[in-house]
Every structure is written in structure tokens, then in C-alpha cells.
């Protein structure tokens, strides 16, 4: 038997490998991708585009380099009109024409986040509060959905923010933000009014104040900046305004239609500068908070920037 000793050993070795290898590799196959390997460690600019026959959400890096089309609704007629970021991978987009809000992942995966029989009007911008509630502009009202997509209130046709609440009246609202007080701030296109609401009520918002920035400005976009101010874009007169967190004391900081004309959306970059989509020039321009353009050329000017409806920054993981 001595001459078979090595053979016996080798057979034992192979048996050990046979038995042991599957145990080492027993981890499940589901898992995920490494965020840093996919480039999800870097913030991205998301741009919603509403060109005829080209309704898409496109991503860029923060230098304005095109990364790709994240979602394309051209074939099914949905017009993306807002972007509310959930986390480093997912965001919500109200789709005008489809009357629904979709959840989109950066890898292009889309799913219907919510629909509702009361959610059938003209959709514009939306905002997500710190609790995950979504406030979405619908014609002359705002609908509220909780973090799971359930409408608030759950019954009845009256929306959470109705057209008239106290001193606040919505007249073609176009953009909505949450300010540092946790208040909902809505700017109307027709009236140029900035309405401020508290949103602690179970079934309805409560009007705090309403300030008219300018009746003829045709407000189309608004951001709440990290400096504590509101910045509002006048889509008709092409001015960019700066106002207090509640909309008072508004004043123009930028007016040069050769650079920004018919602005349609805005977003704050991590360095505090502001991107403004300019419809007439078919570009995205970058200005600072005192109204000085950054650089001498457009931040982005390509086939996707002709008719931008919304922009957002999705932070890296």
C-alpha cells in the first residue's frame, strides 16, 4: 500500500477541493454594483428635456460633459417636467401627458411611482421634503404624495394645496421649493406671485404669505439657494431675481438676453453658482449669486438644451 500513498493524498486533496470550493463561494448572486466603480461617487447634473418628439432625462457631469440619456419617454408621449432626487441613485419625475410620477434610476431603470385619479392636470415642477413627501404642481394646484406615493388627502377631489388658500392664490404655478423654514414656496407664472405655505396640516396646507414679484415677469423657475435666498427666473422678461426665503425684497440680478433668454429652469451647483436653462439660446448658462456670468461661453449647448423643463443635481453616494 505504501506505493499508493501519494496517489491517496492527491485523491484526498481533490476531494477536499470538491467539498470546500462551493462552501467558499456560497455568497448569493444578487448583490449590487460598486458605486465608485460605476462613477456614482460623483455628483451629476440631470436635465429634463421637452423637445417635440424628444422627451428625455439626460445626465452630465458637473463640468457639463454629456454622460448619456438616462430615460427616454419620446415613444410613449410623456413629457418630463420636474426632477426630485431621492438618493444617490434614484429620482422622481412628473410626466405631463401620462399623468403619473415615475421613479428613475441612474442606470435607466424606470418604474411608475404613483398615479391617481385626481392627478390629471397640467404638470410642472415638483419638490421632495425631508420626510420624503412629494409636492407636484398640477394646473392651478399642488398635489401631495407621501413617501410611498399615496396621495394626501387620501380621499376627495380637493388637493393638498388648492388654488386659493387664505391670501394665497395660484395662477399657473410653475415652480416649487422648500425653504429653510420647511415652508412650501410656490411661484406662479401668470401673477408673478410667490406664495408661502406651511405643510404640517394633515389634509391641507396653510397660507403664510403671498408676495407679488412682478406681474409681467412670467415666472418659470425658482430655487432655494444655500445662501438662504430664493432665485426666480422670469420666463417672459428674461430676468433672474433674488428674493428672501419668503419671497420678499425681490430684485433683478441678471438681465442680458444675449446670454439668457426665456429661462425655463434653474439649479444650484455644489459651489453655489447657478445654472439657468435658456430656451431662446438653446443653452444652459452659469451665473453666480450677484448675477455675473461664469466664463465666456455657454456651460452646455448641445442638442438636448433647446427646451429644458427641469434640472437637478444628484449627489454621489
Amino acid at each position: 500500500m505504501e506505493q499508493y500513498k501519494d496517489l491517496r493524498f492527491i485523491l484526498r486533496l481533490l476531494l477536499a477541493i470538491f467539498l470546500f470550493a462551493p462552501l467558499v463561494a456560497c455568497n448569493n448572486n444578487s448583490g449590487s454594483y460598486y458605486a465608485a466603480a460605476l462613477g456614482l461617487n460623483k455628483a451629476r447634473l440631470l436635465v429634463a428635456v421637452q423637445n417635440t418628439n424628444s422627451n428625455q432625462v439626460v445626465s452630465y457631469d458637473l463640468n457639463g460633459k454629456l454622460l448619456g440619456v438616462v430615460a427616454d419617454y419620446s415613444a410613449i408621449g410623456g413629457v418630463p417636467r420636474g426632477i426630485s432626487v431621492i438618493d444617490g441613485l434614484r429620482f422622481l419625475v412628473p410626466l405631463n401627458g401620462l399623468d403619473r410620477i415615475d421613479m428613475i434610476q441612474l442606470d435607466g431603470t424606470t418604474s411608475i411611482w404613483t398615479t391617481n385619479v385626481q392627478y390629471t392636470g397640467t404638470l410642472y415642477h415638483s419638490v421632495r421634503d425631508s420626510s420624503g413627501n412629494i409636492y407636484s404642481i398640477e394646473t392651478n394646484t399642488l398635489e401631495k404624495f407621501d413617501s410611498s406615493g399615496s396621495r394626501i388627502p387620501t380621499t376627495g377631489a380637493t388637493p393638498y394645496v388648492n388654488t386659493t388658500l387664505g391670501a394665497c392664490t395660484l395662477a399657473v404655478p410653475r415652480s416649487v421649493v422648500i425653504n429653510s423654514n420647511g415652508q412650501l414656496v410656490v411661484v406662479s407664472n401668470t401673477s408673478g406671485a410667490i406664495a408661502v405655505y406651511t405643510v404640517t396640516g394633515a389634509t391641507t396646507a396653510v397660507c403664510v404669505s403671498s408676495t407679488v414679484l412682478g406681474a409681467g415677469i412670467g415666472a418659470t423657475a425658482m430655487i432655494f439657494h444655500s445662501d438662504g435666498s430664493l432665485y426666480i427666473a422670469g420666463g417672459t422678461n428674461s430676468n433672474i431675481y433674488k428674493a428672501s426665503a419668503t419671497g420678499t425684497g425681490g430684485a433683478s440680478i441678471f438681465n442680458n438676453t444675449a446670454i439668457i433668454s426665456a429661462p425655463s429652469s434653474m439649479v444650484e451647483l455644489p459651489d453655489g453658482t447657478i445654472l439657468v436653462s435658456s430656451t431662446t439660446t438653446a443653452s444652459i448658462e452659469r451665473i453666480n449669486t450677484v448675477g455675473t456670468r461664469i466664463g465666456t461661453t455657454s456651460f452646455i449647448k448641445d442638442g438636448f438644451t433647446a427646451n429644458v423643463s427641469a434640472m437637478a443635481i444628484i449627489q454621489g453616494q
Binding site: 467558499v24 455568497n27 460598486y34 461617487n41 438618493d87
Partner: protein
């Protein structure tokens, strides 16, 4: 994993008891040795959001052993180590693929007892990831890891054949990835290894090299 270790330990122990003390070749000094191994690793990383990322692939591992103490049934070696892993994300599909290459080098120590051996090594690693699909990106990072291993081998003259289980862990710092949290890394592998013993102590080995 504990269950796996338990099974291997039982197997190694039974094998060592059965054969470890009976071979005359086992008793001769091993001296300086080089070891080459091929392994089947499972690598796990964790994202800041808590999701885990699994990879599997192939690893190559080379070790140089310098004997410090070598008795009939016991040896203590210092070692230099070089390890390369090529692994694919287990979630890979037609829409997204991610591949990782990790090269590590470092040193440690190994203890041999009859046919059993145990080692501990500290590796400095460079990882490269490539993503193709919905996300096209590449990433290079550095991190350090501490690895242990346990195995047994059969001496066949100056050549040895063995099986090894290794496990290691480390952390990729945020400065390397720009992620919001450091990335925990752990790996385990089973290896088939072959080694060559020069049958000389370190100084005799060096003297021969310089002749």
C-alpha cells in the same frame, strides 16, 4: 463560513494525523522555498447605502519563504507575498458589467507544524475597476489588508502540493473613492498550491545566488 472552516479543519487534521508524521521526506529541512498558488476567490465590498457587492474570479498567489526556525516537525518562516485577483461582479448582465483587478504585495509570517501550516500577511493593494454598460467608468484605488490562511501540504521530494484556505479584510478609504463612507472589503478563497524547496537556509541560498 465557520462551517466551512470547521470542515476543512477536520479534514486537515485527519490527513495530518494519518500521514504527516510518517513520511521520511517530511523530516528533512525545507529551507528557502517559493510557493505558487491558483485560487478561486469570493470578494465582497459594501456600498455606502449598505448594499453588498460580490465578485468571483481567479487569483494567483506567490510567496517566498525564508526559514527562521526549522525543526523536524516545526518551522517558522518569514514571507514575501504577491497576489493578483481578476474578478467579475456576480450581478453582471447584458446591460451592465463590472470587472475588478486587484494586485497586492506585502509580507508576513508562516508557521508549519507537520503538514499543517498557518500564515498571516499584510498586503498593500491596488484595485482597478472597469464598468461597461449604462455606466462607463474606471476607478483606481489603494488599500491595505490583513489576511490569514491555513492549509496543509504533501511533500513530494523537493516539490510540495497543498491546499489552502485564506481570508482577508481591509477598508478602502474615502480619499480613494470620494464615497461618503469607507468601503469595507473582505475576501475568501480556496487555493491549490505547489511549492519548491531549495533545501538551503537563507544565507546558503544567497551565497549560491551570488556565486
Amino acid at each position: 463560513m465557520k462551517y466551512s472552516l470547521f470542515l476543512l479543519s477536520i479534514f486537515i487534521a485527519s490527513n495530518a494525523l494519518a500521514e504527516g508524521t510518517t513520511s521520511s521526506s517530511d523530516a528533512s529541512p525545507k529551507g528557502v522555498a517559493v510557493v505558487g498558488a491558483i485560487g478561486s476567490p469570493t470578494l465582497k465590498l459594501s456600498n455606502p447605502d449598505g448594499s453588498d457587492v460580490y465578485y468571483s474570479g481567479v487569483s494567483l498567489w506567490g510567496r517566498g519563504l525564508i526559514p527562521i526556525v526549522e525543526a523536524r516537525a516545526f518551522r517558522f518562516d518569514l514571507l514575501g507575498s504577491l497576489r493578483f485577483t481578476n474578478a467579475n461582479n456576480k450581478k453582471n448582465n447584458d446591460a451592465q458589467k463590472e470587472e475588478a483587478d486587484i494586485l497586492g504585495y506585502g509580507g508576513g509570517a508562516e508557521i508549519g507544524l507537520y503538514s499543517l501550516f498557518f500564515g498571516l500577511e499584510y498586503l498593500m493593494n491596488t484595485g482597478k475597476h472597469y464598468s461597461i454598460g449604462a455606466f462607463n467608468n474606471s476607478l483606481i484605488y489603494h488599500y491595505n489588508s490583513l489576511n490569514y490562511y491555513i492549509g496543509f501540504e504533501k511533500r513530494l521530494g523537493i516539490f510540495n502540493l497543498g491546499i489552502v484556505y485564506s481570508s482577508g479584510s481591509g477598508s478602502i478609504p474615502t480619499s480613494e473613492t470620494n464615497l461618503s463612507k469607507a468601503t469595507p472589503v473582505s475576501d475568501s478563497a480556496i487555493w491549490l498550491q505547489a511549492s519548491y524547496s531549495f533545501k538551503k537556509d537563507f544565507f546558503a541560498f544567497i551565497a549560491d545566488l551570488l556565486k
